[in-house]
Symmetry: C2
Subunit: 237 residues, 2 copies
């Protein structure tokens, strides 16, 4: 039986001080390499290289089949592609500026069954930790979705001011494909509830925003910086 | 370079007769078995059984890691779990009636890159085919999401009346885990734009709704029944 720990956070969007929302405490990120390691650890006749090669190749095949219009149903999720945007008349053409092909995903039955069985432990209100509530692309006004390299993002939250003399403090974007951490050198506004940050020239990809700070709300500085990741993936297109 | 065909459908939600939306023409559903076949067909040193075994095991490991709070990043999608529902006060407990652990998914960078490169061909307005627009659970009023066994669902659309003397005509739910097709024996309302159907006693799972009919809007009956799947997965919890 699996168990997750959940932190509670004051919901900043309601005036009720007793209104909290939960976040599952993150355990880290696993990639095909880690899945292959886990399979070897469980015990298997296959070499790790074999497992990893097959997982990587199957991912490539799944992507190539999805973009041909196939649905892919695995033990983790069901996925298919669709098209967004309105067409004006039955003879309208595809226009990349108006229409977009996107993939959508639904949890598999197996995953949903396991989620139902998962034990939840509320480990209390995370009142002293920084909380990132929302990330807004100041150019497009997109919230918690796309970001634009070379433009400003607005980060709203609590206790997110970047402070301290540790060389690691700052705002980072971590490429989820390569795990590369890119530091944002220019912080335009630096307040406990709001940061405005100039993004560097990031390649297209999926990113996790992290803030690293020694800021503490009781006017002291923490001895060690702490790292707070934002839970939503930010996308550079 | 991949290419998808897109049908256009009259948008029933707007009065504008020139307002259309697109649907990618479905190519079928692929499971791990089909992915393994595709890999063998490409050419590989591995046996199909090896590939299938590794894909099934990796799915099980991914599910078990997700429900422990890990994020999983593959070449297809990025996934993690979260918790829905409000907590009333910092000492509130987890209540399965109010709170729910769910998984969310984002397309990987590789998938998004391929979607961008995909050629789209508009193959015209699909005006003669049945169109399923919306499926409503009459008990919970949930739209295009959960359905309740032993209760009525409302299907809205165009040309969806069940007609014809072929033994195959009717409303079906296809279990996406097992591919089992379950026929709904009791059709309460049967009109061109609306069906009300009593659901049989379905096990928990993800289902695709299909209507099979010889109905035609010009008062004739089609010689052969045609099968129309609904694009959204319907969930029995």
């Amino acid at each position: 039986m699996s168990k997750v720990n959940v932190w509670l956070y004051d919901n900043l969007l309601t005036p009720d001080p007793n209104d909290f929302y939960g976040k599952v405490k993150p355990q880290g990120t696993l990639r095909n390499n880690d899945i292959a390691d886990a399979m070897v650890k469980e015990g298997t006749e296959y070499q790790k290289e074999t497992i990893l090669n097959i997982l990587d190749r199957s991912d490539r095949i799944k992507v190539s089949k999805l973009v041909e219009g196939y649905s892919i149903n695995t033990g983790v999720c069901y996925s298919h592609i669709g098209i967004n945007g309105a067409f004006h008349g039955a003879t309208d053409r595809f226009d990349p500026n108006e229409h977009r092909i996107t993939a959508s995903f639904t949890s598999s039955t197996a995953l949903r069954e396991e989620l139902k069985k998962t034990q939840v432990e509320i480990i209390g209100a995370a009142t002293t930790e920084p909380v990132i509530g929302k990330v807004i692309d100041n150019l497009t006004k997109a919230e918690d979705s796309t970001i634009t390299p070379g433009n400003v993002i607005v980060i709203k939250g609590n206790r997110i001011k970047i402070a301290g003399d540790d060389s690691g403090v700052g705002v980072y974007l971590v490429d989820q494909g390569t795990n590369t951490r890119c530091k944002c050198e220019q912080i335009v506004t630096n307040e406990p509830k709001q940061l405005m940050v100039m993004l560097p020239d990031l390649p297209a990809g999926n990113y996790i925003l992290e803030i690293v700070t020694q800021y503490s709300s009781n006017n002291s500085t923490l001895k060690e910086p702490r790292t707070t990741p934002f839970e939503h993936v930010l996308i550079v297109e």
